[in-house]
Each structure stands twice: as C-alpha cells, then as structure tokens.
Symmetry: C2
Subunit: 392 residues, 2 copies
C-alpha cells in the first residue's frame, strides 16, 4: 500500500423523498443560488418543482440556468459564470445527472477564477477557490455527486478534459433512487458502465498489498452487476436501483483508490470518442474496456486472474491463466450486452479513419507532447490505435 490522503466531506442524504430537504440542508451556505439543470426531465419527474418549493420554504432566493446537455459544453459554463456574477450568486445547485453536476462545478470554479475557466481544465492554471455547491442526483453514473472531479467539453476545440480538486466536492448530495426508476434502459447501461469503469480505473494496478481496497472494489463490482441485472428485468425496482446508486457513489468518491496507483486510460480514450462523435460516456467505456483488458492483461496476468475469479466468478482450473482471464472478459462483455450496451466502435458510428487522430489526442501526441495514458500499462498513441482496432 502506498501512502495516501483522502477527505470526503460531502454530506450524503440518500433515500426516498429526500429532495424535500434541499432548502434546509444548504441554508447554512447559500443566500442566492444558481439552479442548474438540463432539459425537461427534471420538470417531468417533479424535481424542479420540489426543489423550488424547498428553496422558497427555506427563504433562499435563486436564479436558474437550464440547457445542460450530455458531455456538457463550455459555452453554457461561460453563460452560467456570467449569470452568477451579474446576480451575485453565492451557491450553485445542480439537479440532474453527471452532466448537470460537472457543468455546475465548472461554473462554481469559474466564478472564483480570474481568467478563463478552461485554462484550469487544460492544466494551464490552478484552481484556488470555488463557490460551494450541492447536488440532487437523477441518474446514477458519474459519481460526480460526491467526487472532486468535473469533465467539460470545449466544443469549439473538440476537446473533453477533466479536472480534480477537493474544492469542488459538493457540500451536500441528495440521492433519491426513486428518480432512477423512471430512466430508460439505455441510461442503465451507460450508468453502470461508467460506475464499473470508475472502479476498474482504480482496481487494475501494479501496486501490491492492497487487500482491503481490492476487496472493496470487487464486492462493489459484484453488487452493482447483480443489481443492474435486476434493474434490466424491472426498471421500477427501487431496491435494485438503490444498490446501483450507492455503488456509483462509492465507486468515485475516492475510497476505492486510496493507497494504490490508478489507471484511467479507458477514461482518457473515451473522452476522445465523446468529443469526436458525442457518444454517451458509458457507451464508449463499454466498448473500450474489454478491448483495453485484452490488450494489457499480460502486463500483470495475476491481477486479471483475480478479477476473473473474484468479480466474474470464473472457477475453472488455474493452470491456464490466459483462459481464465479471457473467460472473465467474455463474461463482462456478455454482461454489458444484457444491460443494453454495444461492444463495437462501428455501432457508435466511429470508423477507422478517425482512430489515429483520436489516439494522438488522447495521448498528447496530437499536440506535440506525447505523455501517454494509463497507470497499469502506459499506452502511447499506437497502443491506443491498436485498442480501437480491437473493438472496431
């Protein structure tokens, strides 16, 4: 185990009807709120009205900005920053999924940043402060409700970059799995693929002696997969969604990655798919992850045998480790299919001519700074092209 630091101060309020508490929960921090959301879904499910009522009851005034789209855009972030400055907003409240939350985080950072907020995502400036923010989650996936991470797409440059800082951990996160029960099947697949990837990025490591975090990763992967299948059978199953939702929170709140080197190559590659063709993040991850596994597993086959046995339940002879690993990956692919995901880039309308550009962007080579990606096995742009080819 490596030395580590972790601090997860977000107050998590989880369960049925918890949305009504938002006003009282953020009252200590908020005088004037920016209410930030996507489209009509928060209105359709009643959350928009519940939120307004709760804010009003707590005597908190607010302005609002809707219109967040999946792979949230920098242009709306700029708009939000301007609005907050003009209106004297001191708190940002996101209601929605990971996109609304990530966009809200970018606004919270941008209000307190002197220059262009994109510079922070582009590693050209440091975050020094952010408005406090809170979240009411409607889609389990991104884990952004408790994380110190945000990903934003600069649609002009065609780049999707992430940033991380404890300064953008929400002070309050309300998670009511009742909202999940009205999602379409596709959102289950996208969400679960993202949740599992958040765990995989931490789980697959060359760091040894990590029994506690290994075990937590494995048990949460098993719990999420079991319950995702229950959701796929009956999308109104509250209890199953509650497990998926809780798994999604812990997957990305930091605790599964403590004391171990992490990978993050699949996320790095996927951001290029999303930036290139506006692919749903989870859809891209489901395509890339099995291919990545096949490409890298020989770097530390024991880690992948452990995955196949402890997570995917492969029980055959241990004398053929490659066979065990490939069976584990094959079971993961079958699982993805069962929750409605596709397994090839062509099904995402991404063809080979685009591979080299995307690979070079993911690894930095495109910008003349090839740093590579991935902690488990460092991938240069040719590696990434090879992985894209494995799933074409």
């Amino acid at each position: 185990m490596q030395n580590f630091e972790i601090q997860t101060p977000t107050k998590l309020v989880f369960g049925k009807n918890t949305q009504h508490q938002i006003g009282e929960l953020i009252k200590p921090f908020a005088k004037k709120v920016l209410l930030h959301y996507g489209g009509g879904s928060v209105k359709k499910i009643g959350l928009y009205d519940d939120t307004k009522k709760s804010l009003e009851a707590a005597g908190i005034s607010f302005v609002e900005l809707g219109g967040v789209v999946p792979n949230p855009r920098l242009s709306l972030v700029y708009e939000g920053i301007e609005l907050c400055k003009k209106e004297g907003v001191d708190f940002v409240l996101a209601i929605g999924g990971g996109s609304a939350i990530d966009s809200a985080k970018a606004i919270a950072v941008g209000v307190k940043h002197e220059g262009d907020v994109w510079d922070i995502y582009d590693d050209k400036a440091q975050i020094t402060a952010a408005l406090p923010m809170a979240v009411i989650l409607t889609i389990p996936a991104a884990g952004s409700e408790m994380s110190g991470n945000s990903v934003v797409t600069n649609e002009k440059l065609g780049r999707k970059y992430g940033m991380g800082s404890d300064l953008i951990r929400p002070v309050v996160a309300i998670v009511n799995p009742e909202y999940f029960t009205s999602l379409p099947l596709a959102q289950l697949g996208y969400g679960v693929a993202d949740i599992m990837s958040h765990i995989f990025e931490r789980y697959f490591t060359q760091t040894t002696k990590c029994d506690i975090t290994d075990g937590m990763c494995e048990s949460i992967l098993r719990g999420v997969m079991k319950n995702a299948l229950l959701c796929a059978e009956d999308m109104s199953d509250y209890d199953a969604w509650a497990e998926v939702g809780l798994g999604g929170i812990i997957a990305h709140n930091g605790w599964l990655g403590i004391g171990r080197a992490q990978d993050w190559a699949c996320h790095g590659m996927e951001h290029e798919l999303s930036a290139y063709n506006d692919v749903a993040h989870g859809a891209g991850l489901a395509v890339l992850t099995p291919a990545w596994m096949k490409y890298v597993y020989k770097e530390n086959i024991n880690m992948f045998v452990q995955f196949a046995v402890n997570v995917m339940g492969v029980t055959q002879s241990f004398r053929e480790p490659d066979e065990i690993v490939l069976e584990g990956i094959s079971r993961l692919e079958e699982f993805y299919k069962k929750i409605g995901l596709v397994l090839t880039l062509s099904e995402l309308n991404i063809q080979e001519p685009a591979f080299e550009d995307m690979a070079k962007k993911a690894t930095g080579a495109y910008f003349g700074d090839e740093h590579g990606i991935g902690g488990f096995k460092k991938l240069m742009w040719q590696d990434v092209v090879n992985i894209f080819k494995l799933c074409k």
Copy 2:
C-alpha cells in the same frame, strides 16, 4: 435499504512518516493545543518528540496532559477540561490509541458544555458544540480516529457509556502503521477483535436488500483476518499492519452501516465487562461475540449462513444450515485463538456471580428501565445472562 445520511469530513493522512505533517495540517484550526496521551509508549516510539517538533515548527503553542489509561476515566477528562479552560486551549490533539482519542473527544465536548460532560454520555444532556480535534493513531482498533463516537468510564459509578455526534469527528487523522509494528501480540488480538466487532455490529441486521454494504463488510472482514494472521506471524510486517489499520478505519467511520439497522449488543455487553473488571475491550468482545452468535443466529439463519460462507469460507452442503453456521462460528473462534485471544469469561476473571448485575446494567434493568439491547435480536437481561453463561 433504508434511507440514510452520512458525513465523514475527517481528513485522513495515512502512511509512513506522516506524523511530521501534524503541525501544518492543524494550523488552520489551532492556536493553542491540548496534547493528550497515555503513558510512556508515545515517548518510546518517538511520536511525542516528533509531535512537539511539528507543532513548534508550525508555530502552534500547546499544553499537555498524559495519563490516559485503557477504558479512559472520567476523572482525567474533568482534569483536561479544567486545564483547557484555564489555558485558553482551542484545539485537542490526541496521540495514542482509542483510549487517548476517546478521552480527548470527551474533553473537547466538555470544554464547550455548560454542565457536567458525563450528562451527555448518560443521555441526560445534548451535545451542542465541541472544540475541534485531531488524532495521531498508534494502535489500530477503536476506529475512533475517524468516527463520531467516544466511550468513557465513570469509575466512581462503575459505568462505561458511549456517545455519538458528528461534532466529535476529528478534523485530521494521521495514521502511520509503522507504529503498529512495535505493538505486543496482545494488542493485535484486542485491536482486531474490536475492528471485527465494529463490522459485525453493522453487518448482522434484519434489513434486507443491502448487497453493497453486505459486500463491503464481508470483504473488509476477510482482508482484516488475512492480514491479522500475517501480523501474528511477523509483528513487524508493515504491509499487513497497513491493511489492518485501514480496515479498522473503514470498520467504524460509518460507511459500513449506512442504510441498514445495526445491532450493538456485543458492545453493550462488553462495556459491562470492562466496567466490572477493567477487561481490555477487544478481549471482552472476542469472548462475547461467538456466544452471541450462537444465541441469536436462529432469528435469521440465512444472514448467518451468508456470514459463514462469504466471510469464514465454509463451503459444505447448504442443506444443513445450522451446521454451516456453527462451522462458521467455530472458525471465528479458531481465528481469535490464533491471534492470541481467549474465549471464556473465566479466563478474564469474571465468574458467574457477577453475570446478573452486569446483564441488568447492560439492558437498563438495574436502573429500573429495561430497554434491552441489540437490533438483530433484542436482548433482555435474562438473555444477556444466558449469553454470559455460554462463554463462562
């Protein structure tokens, strides 16, 4: 899963040489510190000197109060409160194990409480504020380094009571497992029994549909047990101690108990053993836990089959659930013995004449208010006597 709320704001800094950071870490909160500890061990291991140096380097002044003993005494808490008030202390820093931390928490509460701090432990007054406090941990066991709990013994009344509030979660917890490598074997056993009990108290529940927290409890139990045996073989094994230490933190920081009813009968019973005969808390728990399991398992045998299979690795036929459960409990007893623990009350010098008084105190009957204890199966005083008899 039940609705729940959780907030764990403690900044955890974990690993080798981390003690030197204490001054810088608490500087934002502390002008004048009470340095609180037990006996000579913190001096022997160099921590006392390292702490003083780090505080001095950060420009933080301090007064000190040593003398905390296992099952920390109310009289020293009173002394600490007086000292803090006299010296204008605004921050409490505990260096040591769970006893030093629990005593420090009581002092932090008492300084801010108008009346007698014991009233808060005795449920006669509410906590409304506490000085901020931090911890450098030297013994993994109590989980007090990140928890909102404190247990103190009123030696005059012969009562050992606990209290819980998010107000007493440390703002900073430094955990350097190097300190654990110089502990005697007995401390391994006491610590591991306490860590496992913190998980058991949350794990054994009648709440259904808790896959994620079930899985986390089970994986951490397995990880702690595996590494405790490695420590028992070689008490200088840093990596194994790091796993035990991390397991101990997560066991009691609250995350394993979210969304589920909890039990806490073994802790309630054990507090009477400790109050009666100054038994080490972990020693008492190791005696009581298997007996409690035998007494209550029929209330929900499937929960105990799951424990036997998923935690203790019992793999025989599922057609004889009682057999599986008893084999699981027997393996737990064997494990306790391997890490140096005893399994009978007589070995702790507690004989039958004391059982009734202790049972009546644990359940409230002694004070004319028999509320019973335990969420898995509610135990009245006769039940507790029966459990004591099972381990006499």
